[in-house]
Subunit: 142 residues, 4 copies
């Protein structure tokens, strides 16, 4: 049965700002780091290739709602799941907590793309072998 | 008549990533820099005070939709407006273009807060003198 | 007998730049993170206090020499030692390797300071209890 | 007669940390931004090419000495000069001041390199046309 992937992340000093808390933009960096860690855990990578060449996952939409601020050396718990696995796109959801208290919830939506030599992306179907592995963390959106 | 505030931002080398483009998280940093520039333009500051003491604007929600990637040394045009000016909260909207082509659109929602000595925030009404200045960039949401 | 403290750090995607490698400025962030991890390991903190109040360690000099570039997902080995423990200052040295090959060597020199209410720092002697713990990683400079 | 190139840089909120000041690692980012601005001013680029293909300037050594801390919205004055223009390498020096008071002094040493297809760099002589332009900011080291 699908389950969120769980990891942690310590708030480093460079992550903080003059308000004494982790800067709101850092949550997007934490999300991406957790996504990449999940992919490694599943034996996948954000830089992949099949017999037709390399493909990757540019971001098309991101969002984050913040409930509480966190400080230097706080260790955040992060749950990563996929709330929508489309034919060509993936929406990851990230729940951040600290000692069981809600901190933030965010989403990253990415689209599977190949790039032409001039750098133009074209969306493609997520390969079946990749979709099968990703399905291990597909949960029903709450 | 209210008008968006216009500014520009050059993509610096540290803003890019190994995909050769500006990292998606940087758009949140660009948004905040444009917001602060707007506040300075209006004679305001993100760190304010009135006769009851200091107040500030923690972020409660952020989002960004991405249409096209940008590269090192691209100079983005940014339009900043307020699409919702509530009694206690502000939603800024940011439109990024490059040579007239859409790049990204984002929002930051902040809440006016005082902090108690232990760091707990409590929302307060945005002071009238501040709301009046902010109204110069309040536009109808499209 | 004093020994360097050993840790590791994975190169995250946001750490890279359009040259496809970890940005040179990130090594200073990695150094600080390793320094803070060492302090936690020794039961110390970069934000300390004694009976006279808080004190901290602003940086007065930093440097890094780079031997080889590293890429996304490389896991760097880091050795942290103190190459000079003065009465008021500390010079940390950091050796970065990847699979035994030298990557970079850096230093951070910090001075123990109290801050007056207006923010002016004044250097003070490192407390004896702190210097004793730090001496566990004081090695002779090569 | 050679003269340092002069520019400014505002301390943005994301540049600060929980100590309330610009993080020490940001000075390396400011240095690189000022270097790139100088290169644009001279009609050059950090990503160059000649008839034999592209070449670039990886960093081999960086350093910074810090005299005073700076805060959010401070506007730093920066003077950029070249204190050593070798056959294959360049050492840039950066002097940061705020209202005439010294803030920091840093250096970046880069080597002119071509990269083989597998990513291995090989140092090459700086092209004459580039060295001639760079000589406009070569000053005697103090």
């Amino acid at each position: 049965m699908p389950q969120p992937y769980k990891t942690t992340r310590r708030v480093e000093f460079r992550d903080t700002d003059a308000a004494g808390i982790a800067h709101f933009s850092m949550f997007f960096v934490y999300m991406e780091q957790a996504e990449h860690e999940l992919l490694r855990h599943l034996g996948l990578s954000v830089m992949s290739a099949d017999e037709h060449g390399p493909f990757t996952f540019p971001r098309v939409a991101t969002r984050c709602d913040y409930q509480r601020a966190v400080k230097f050396e706080d260790v955040l718990s992060i749950e990563v799941s996929i709330v929508r696995l489309g034919q060509k796109s993936i929406t990851f959801e990230f729940n951040f907590t600290l000692d069981g208290r809600p901190i933030a919830t965010g989403q990253i939506t990415t689209v599977c793309c190949r790039f032409s030599p001039d750098g133009t992306p074209a969306s493609i179907s997520i390969p079946t072998w990749m979709a099968e592995k990703l399905s291990q963390v597909v949960v029903d959106a709450p």
